[in-house]
Amino acid sequence: MAYSDKVLDHYENPRNVGKMDDKDINVGTGMVGAPACGDVMRLQIRVNDQGVIEDAKFKTYGCGSAIASSSLLTEWVKGRSLEEATLIRNKDIAEELGLPPVKIHCSVLAEDAIKAAIEDVRNKRKAQQ
């Protein structure tokens, strides 16, 4: 399969690879996918008191398109508010990376990951109040 230059770039030089402390109240973790399906994404965001995403980290087990989708996502969410981040759609990721139809599920997974991470941090904060 031929990959787009953008997918290759993210695959060769993935941005924001890493791990945050998932117990931290300001950290939201979204873990989506399953090993059985061939892809698992873990996206983590650090959110400040103003509700802005200050930092994002990811690790992904999956094909090149899955790695690129999550890498791109970490770039996009940094500096956005939680509200703005919820507006990211898989279609935007797929378009930006030029994903072929068989790889659209990788971008869907990335959208699921950011939604799960946002929900996680919101739930944590609610629980504390």
Binding site: V40, Y61, C63
Partner: protein, 404 residues
């Protein structure tokens, strides 16, 4: 070294230059271009002679009578002809067929077609080794069983079935035995004088011959009958009509001649390279060889790198032409049915590479591959949340995954 390095000989092999030379002598006006079926002139006679020489060369490699060789377009056609042809011919005696879950699609899909026509098929489960035992076959045979179809060597894991022992059982029970030998010719000895096999599928392109040509061995004593699947001019004693492709057939003959002459020396060299490759990889953590290592052709290594996904691994190994059992390399989203059938969990099936060596593989290429694989696995594990969890002592089987 030339990049990418070809390590996918189980998929196909390049044509040996000696074979290409022979083939090129059967094409143009000045060369041997005639129709082997033309009986009225020199052109036909010369072409027929070349075809019969090739038939002998193919028969010599597997020790059978040249009259038992029927030319086909490849192993897929030979499998179709053998399975459908025998099932249709013997259907009055019974409608039960035995095969295994790890056969090539050409066998499995032919069996599926027969199921639609009212036949019943038993799909044997291989052991973790990938081997089908004679005992399993014996236990599955019923009074209405007419055909057993099993591969000699598996295309993904390279594991060898004991077809001589299985053939003794089928012969005793008066059941036709078909063997797909696409992956075994030229890799291990085949002696059809000793092996009670009734039908055997052969191909040229895995043995340094051209694509588009193969053959079906059809035993004469005891005589095995098949119904033709291709009707027409009655070529190949009516079993497979169609003008014989002289250049392809001559190529297959020459490829099999070379295989017979050189296979023992060649396989010893390839085995040493395979051992070198495995030695270079086995110190990586969480590495698993898939299928039995002892009962395997020299050229194959199927290996899983846990917590690394196969397609991304191949992407990191763009300088190496290998294949993977990962779902992402196929149109379906299922990982390799062969690896699943021998008991691998989905993760390990997704994490597998098939590396297959051949005639032109060099030691320097193996050393390069070892280095690249080490780098790629390390890089991708650094990226893998599963590797993190494994290192943190999390049991991945206990995690509730949000499957999609």
């Amino acid at each position: 070294m030339q990049y990418p390095i070809y390590l996918d000989y189980s998929a196909t092999s390049p044509v040996d230059p000696r074979v290409a030379q022979k083939m090129s002598e059967c094409l143009t006006l000045e060369a041997n271009f005639g129709n082997p079926a033309s009986r009225s002139h020199m052109f036909g006679w010369k072409a027929e002679e070349a075809v019969e020489t090739a038939r002998r060369q193919v028969a010599d490699l597997i020790n059978c009578d040249p009259r038992e060789i029927v030319w086909t377009s490849g192993a897929t056609e030979a499998d179709n002809l053998a399975i459908k042809g025998a099932a249709h011919f013997y259907s009055k005696q019974g409608k039960h067929i035995i095969t295994s879950k790890i056969e090539h699609k050409a066998v499995l899909d032919s069996c599926r077609q027969l199921e639609r026509e009212g036949f019943e098929v038993t799909y044997l489960d291989p052991a973790e080794s990938g081997i089908i035992t004679p005992e399993q076959v014996a236990a599955a045979i019923r009074p209405d069983t007419i055909l057993v179809s099993l591969m000699h060597v598996n295309n993904e894991i390279g594991v060898i079935n004991d077809i001589e022992a299985i053939g003794k059982i089928t012969r005793e029970k008066n059941v036709i035995f078909h063997v797909d030998a696409a992956q075994s010719t030229g890799k291990i000895d085949i002696d059809l004088d000793k092996m009670p096999v009734d039908l055997m599928s052969l191909t040229a392109h895995k043995v340094y011959g051209p694509k588009g040509i193969g053959a079906l061995f059809v035993r004469r004593k005891p005589r095995v009958r098949i119904e033709p699947q291709m009707h027409g001019g009655g070529h190949e004693r009516g079993m497979r009509s169609g003008t014989l492709a002289t250049h392809q057939i001559v190529g297959m003959g020459e490829a099999y001649r070379i295989a017979k002459a050189e296979m023992h020396e060649e396989n010893a060299r390839i085995l040493a390279l395979r051992d070198r490759l495995l030695d270079g990889l086995k110190d990586i953590e969480e590495v698993y060889v898939n299928g039995d290592l002892a009962h395997r052709v020299a050229s194959n290594l199927n290996i899983s790198f846990n917590f690394v996904e196969g397609e991304s691994l191949m992407m990191a190994l763009r300088d190496l032409a290998v294949s993977s059992g990962s779902a992402c390399t196929s149109a379906s989203l299922e990982p390799s049915y062969v690896l699943r059938a021998i008991g691998l969990n989905d993760e390990l099936a997704h994490s597998s590479l098939r590396i297959s060596l051949g005639r032109f593989t060099q030691e320097a290429e193996i050393d390069y591959a070892i280095g690249k694989i080490h780098e790629a696995v390390a890089k991708l594990r650094e990226l893998s949340p599963l590797w993190d969890m494994f290192k943190d002592g999390v049991d991945l089987n206990q995690v509730k995954w949000a499957a999609h």
